[in-house]
Subunit: 173 residues, 2 copies
């Protein structure tokens, strides 16, 4: 089956400004009229940003496969990540581009970056520098499990929850 040609919109003018993009960050966006099959089978990155201009970004440890964190990227963060091989995110709370490790020194070198079928999520296999990815001091943000079979109020258990570093010292909080 041949994937149909997708017409695309290059982010320029107001859209470029909306996404805070610099000159190195040209990026196509999904054309709403593009067929589902085209988005799934084409080989041009055409992220499907949500109404806030974000895609979901998942980082796993390239060596162990452990899920380190789930965050978001805007077009600028995604373009910078692909251009530099260093993970950049968009902080929804601070409403700002955020290079991972800019405060903590715990940067993430991207080994591989993939996009999912409908291009609204990105998976990075990373080399995590420093002791951990989580601002709470753990290696991974996923340090609590919900044992299965529970109904009603769900009790969590700590898993791999030991502090890898002292967040107060690292983040100067």
């Amino acid at each position: 089956m041949t994937a149909p040609i997708v017409s695309r919109t290059i982010l320029r003018g107001s859209l470029r400004s909306h996404f805070g993009m610099t000159n190195h960050a040209d990026m196509t966006v999904s054309d709403p009229s593009a067929s589902k099959n085209a988005v799934e089978e084409e080989l041009t990155l055409s992220p499907k940003f949500d109404r806030d201009g974000l895609v979901t970004a998942v980082a796993t440890d390239a060596r162990t496969g452990e899920l380190l964190m789930v965050a978001h990227m805007n077009a600028d963060a995604l373009a910078r990540t692909i251009a530099t091989g260093e993970a950049h995110y968009y902080s929804r709370s601070r409403k700002a581009l955020w290079k991972k490790g800019e405060t903590s020194g715990h940067t993430q070198r991207v080994i591989e970056l993939r996009v999912d079928c409908d291009q609204d999520a990105v998976w990075m296999k990373v080399e995590q520098s420093g002791e951990g990815a989580c601002h709470t001091g753990r290696r991974s943000c996923f340090y609590r499990a919900a044992p299965l079979g529970q109904t009603g109020i769900v009790r969590l258990e700590f898993r791999d929850a030991g502090k890898a570093f002292d967040p107060q010292a690292v983040y100067k909080t």
Copy 2:
């Protein structure tokens, strides 16, 4: 440091109805007044649903660590997943609860379910039954990579993109 007590709201009445919840699906929700530290350190599941009532749900292969899919759960999908150990999601396009595999037979048995620091994302290690998780016929939804160092229009490459099953046969499309 002792985590402060968090006051919680149990989903009842209109909220229960909003989330389409049944009796087995009582679930606490994050109290916006709860301190950041409490949400991060407490051992009661208190998901931080977004304005659409959803959290991000990430499924990895329990055996290989491969990222299979990224989707969303509402309170009902999360409660059913925890209660039954079978992955349930919420389809934003169909606006409906969705038991993974209900059409394809490619169900996901949850081996472990974790929640992240701010409780707006869930990680499941799953045993994927059948040939794959992706509706396009691949094992994983992440079958395209963006080689690093690119600027401007980003070209993708297929990776592990062979069809594991025929989606037209499985989904009767």
